[in-house]
Assembly symmetry: C2
Homo-oligomer: 346 residues x 2
C-alpha cells in the first residue's frame, strides 16, 4: 500500500459530452448518431462514431437500466459449495442467459439461512430481473424469502415445499427405468440394485423406476437384491460382496451412482467376476472422470444437467415475459452405453 | 404463453414518495428518516420506518452506484467450462468478495475470443469495479482486452504474457518438492515420477521440484524413472508397468495428478505390489473424491485453490484502493498425508 491513503485518481471515462465536443456537434446530435435515430448527414454520423471509438466511449448501463426498469441481470444462488451437480447446471444457466445478453450474479449461501437472507436483500437492491435457486440435492427446501418483491424465481435441481413455485428436476424414476430396461434388453434377468441412503428422494425414485420396470417386464422384485447405504465407493465394494453371498447368480447390477458402481466393479474384479460377461453394471450420473476411466468404461444414466440449467433459464425468461408457470417439471434422463454392459456376443 | 402478448403489469415497487405519502411527511423528511440523517422527532422517524417496512420499500442500488461511482460488482471470467480447478477458485473469490458486500458476475467465454470480447464489453457497460480472469490451466495467455478502461484486473490460476499484469498461481515447484521430501522422509530412496504432458508449465515445474529435491538430498536423478504422458488413469496404469520393468526396485512414486496416481495404484495392485509397504505413492491435486476413496487412501499435494481464490479477491480489493501490484505471485502447496505413504511400522 502506498503511504498516501487516498487512491490515485483514475482517468474519468469519456461521456457523451466529450464525444459531442470532439466531433464538434451538439449533445443531442451525438446521441442521435450513437443510437442510430433521427436524420443526420452520413458525414456527421460517421464523425461522431469515429470520435466515440477514439475516446473509447461506453454507454453506462446503469442509466439505461434505470430508464428501462430492467437491469438485464439475474441472481443465481447455490445453497451449498460449488459442487459436481451445480457445475453443469450453472454452466447451462449462464449459457442460456448469456445468449439473451443477461449477466448472472453468482452467490453462495453455504446452507446458512442468515447468509441467504442477506444475499437475497443484496440481489433485490441490485434490482435483478429474476433469481434462480440451485440445490445440492433434490429434496424439498423452504421457498426463498423475497418479501413482497414480485421478482420471478425458478428452482433448478432443487425442489421446494411451496406448490406455487416452479422447480426443474431430473426425472430420477425415468433414469431408473432406462437403466433397468437396458439391462433386460441386453439379456440379463437376475437383477440387483445397490444404491444410496434410503431416505433421499433421488434414491426412492430411482428404486421405484427399477421396481416398476421389473414388474412391467414380468420379472420378480427380490427384496434381498436391493441394498441401500452411502454414496461411497467403499459401500459399493462392500455391498457387492454381500449381494453375491446372498445370490451368486446375479447377472446385472443397477447402481445408484457412478461412485458406488466404481466400488462394485472393484469388488467384482476381486471376486473374479468378468464385467460384463458374468455381471453387467450400470451407474448413475455419467460423471465423465469416473465413467470413462473405469475398467471397463461404465454405462451410466445422464441427468443432462447442462440442459436442465438451460431450461431453468428459459423458464425464468418466460416468467419475465409474464408467463405463469408453477409446479415441479421433471426432465428426462438419457443412457450412455459403454463396455460395462456390452454383451461379449455384441 | 397467454394469448395476450403483453406481459401482465407487475406491481410497481414502492418508492420513497409512496413511503412519505403513507407516513404523511415530505419526501425530504422520509429520506432523512431512512438514511438516519438530520434531526427528526422519534415519533416521525419511527412512523416513516414502519411505513417503509409495511410497503416493502427497498432503496435502489443503481441510483446509489451512479452517485458513488462504484457498483460493488466484480466480473469473474472463466475461459473454459466450470471445471474441477475453477470451482474452488470461484468459491474462494465469491467468499472474499461477499464479505466485502460485493456481488460477482459469472461469465464463461468458452475459450472463444469473440465471446470473451463481448463479455468484457458487457461487464464494462455494467460498470464493474474490477475483473478476475480464471483459466483452466496455468500456461500463459494474452491479457484480456479492456481498451482504455482503467478497471483493475487480476488473473487467478491463470498466468498472462503481460509482465505488468498481476496473476496468482499455485507454486507447482514447491508442490513437487514437498511430495518428494515426504517420500524421502518416509525412508524411500529409489524414487520415480509419472506425470502429464511434458510441454505444460505445471508438469515442468512439478518435475523441477522433484529433481531439485533429489539433488538436495544427495539422490541420483534417473532419467528412466521419469515418465511423461497424459492426464489419465490409463496412462498411470500403463506407465507403472513400464516403470517396474525398467527397474523393479522402485519404492516410491510421485504422480503428477491424483487421476494418474489412481491408475498407478490399480497397476501396482495387479502386479501384487503392496501400497505403501512395497511402493509408496503420492498424488497431486488432493481431489477429494479420488484421494479419499482410493484403496488405500492417497497422500496428495493440495494447491489450496480456495485460498488462491480468496487471495485473488483480496488483491483485487487492494488494487481498487489504489495499490499497485504486478507480476506472478506463487502460493504454497500443502501435503495431505494418507495411507498410501504411511510405512507399516508407523
Amino acid at each position: 500500500m502506498s503511504t498516501d491513503d487516498r487512491p490515485p485518481a483514475r482517468p474519468r471515462p469519456a461521456t457523451i459530452r466529450d464525444v459531442a465536443k470532439a466531433a464538434g456537434v451538439a449533445v443531442g446530435t451525438a446521441s442521435k448518431a450513437l443510437n442510430g435515430r433521427g436524420r443526420l448527414r452520413d458525414e456527421t454520423r460517421n464523425r461522431v462514431l469515429l470520435e466515440a471509438e477514439r475516446l473509447d466511449f461506453r454507454p453506462n448501463d446503469l442509466i439505461k437500466s434505470l430508464l428501462r426498469g430492467r437491469t438485464f441481470t439475474v441472481g443465481m444462488i447455490t445453497t451449498d459449495y460449488f459442487g459436481r451437480f451445480n457445475m453443469p447446471v450453472m454452466s447451462g444457466i449462464e449459457d442460456a442467459l448469456g445468449a439473451a445478453e443477461i449477466l448472472v450474479f453468482l452467490c453462495n449461501t453455504r446452507d446458512d439461512p442468515d447468509r441467504e437472507w442477506k444475499v437475497i436483500q443484496s440481489l433485490l437492491a441490485k434490482q435483478v430481473d429474476g433469481i434462480i435457486v440451485m440445490g445440492r440435492r433434490t429434496d424439498p427446501r423452504p421457498p426463498i424469502a423475497i418479501g413482497r418483491s414480485q421478482v420471478p424465481v425458478v428452482y433448478a435441481f432443487s425442489s421446494v415445499e411451496d406448490p406455487s413455485a416452479l422447480s426443474l428436476l431430473p426425472d430420477d424414476m425415468h433414469g431408473g427405468r432406462i437403466a433397468t430396461e437396458h439391462l433386460i434388453d441386453t439379456r440379463r434377468s437376475n437383477l440387483a440394485h445397490i444404491t444410496g441412503p434410503s431416505d433421499r428422494d433421488a434414491v426412492r425414485l430411482r428404486r421405484a423406476g427399477f421396481e416398476a420396470t421389473l414388474q412391467d417386464r414380468g420379472l420378480a422384485i427380490v427384496e434381498d437384491h436391493i441394498l441401500c447405504g452411502d454414496w461411497t465407493e467403499l459401500w459399493g465394494y462392500t455391498a457387492v460382496r454381500e449381494l453375491l453371498q446372498r445370490d451368486p447368480k446375479v447377472d446385472g447390477i443397477f447402481c445408484g451412482s457412478d461412485i458406488i458402481a466404481r466400488g462394485v466393479m472393484d469388488g467384482l474384479r476381486e471376486l473374479n467376476r468378468s464385467i460384463p460377461n458374468d455381471v453387467a453394471v450400470v451407474g448413475f450420473d455419467n460423471w465423465d472422470i469416473i465413467a470413462t476411466q473405469s475398467r471397463p468404461p461404465l454405462t451410466s444414466v445422464d441427468m443432462n444437467l447442462h440442459d436442465l440449467g438451460r431450461e431453468a433459464a428459459r423458464h425464468l425468461l418466460a416468467k419475465l415475459e409474464g408467463e405463469e408457470i408453477s409446479g415441479a417439471i421433471r426432465l428426462p434422463c438419457t443412457l450412455v452405453v459403454r463396455e460395462s454392459t456390452r454383451a461379449s456376443t455384441d
